[in-house]
Symmetry: C2
DNA sequence: AGGTTGAATAAGTCTATGCTTATGTATTGA
DNA sequence: TCAATACATAAGCATAGACTTATTCAACCT
């Protein structure tokens, strides 16, 4: 199930860190490892999980494989969240308010 | 970390099912079990994880403990998601569009 | 072709986690 | 006060998952 893949993927702090790094800018697997104390196979495995969850997507560029955020995964979360919007505090029930809040 | 608790809590399909059930209406632990083929201790443990993640909250009512959705957890996810809104497809970048979409 | 580099896969290990059974704790009511 | 009911906790087990080392695959370069 897609939901399952997504939440399981995000359940790991290392994977969230990888995702966050990619959100700041696409890069290849080696670049992602810099400053992260993680082995090459571990990174590869994490990227595989994120890819299955549609949180990232890849594109081979010669010897390198470039990774970037895949909007599809985020969309799935947005939809999951929207199901429960009746429980959102009124302060953020209108996302425009939230976005303004975040922008500051 | 709060984010960690939330995503780990939601990584389990049984817990998401429990959460969804509570979103449809508050109820006590026994009521939650109905139709769910889950032991009493397992339910209690799941509820404990959801509570730690601030996804549900409880209130003792005599012998029963009533559970309900805690908006705080959802708010945390909304904020997490908002960080990556630049990647949302333009179709749902404005939540008003999304909510209309979901309402139908 | 052969060596080098970037990345994926295989196989094994160790820990986290979701379950179980058993027991403990609260609250109610006879 | 004692039994029954609702729930929580303890302890143990079995599987999932995050790592490791070793190897393979793929693209580049000389």
């Amino acid at each position: 199930m897609a939901e399952n893949d997504i939440f399981r993927a995000l359940a790991d702090p290392t994977r969230r860190a990888i995702f966050e790094k990619l959100a700041a800018g696409s890069m290849n697997a080696s670049a992602l490892r810099r400053g992260m104390e993680i082995s090459q196979p571990a990174m590869s495995q994490h990227l595989s999980v994120l890819r299955d969850a549609k949180l990232v997507r890849q594109e081979r560029q010669g010897r390198f494989v470039n990774y970037e955020v895949d909007p599809e995964g985020l969309t799935l979360i947005v939809h999951w969240l929207a199901k429960y919007r009746t429980f959102w505090p009124t302060r953020i029930a209108d996302l425009k308010v939230l976005l303004k809040e975040i922008d500051q």
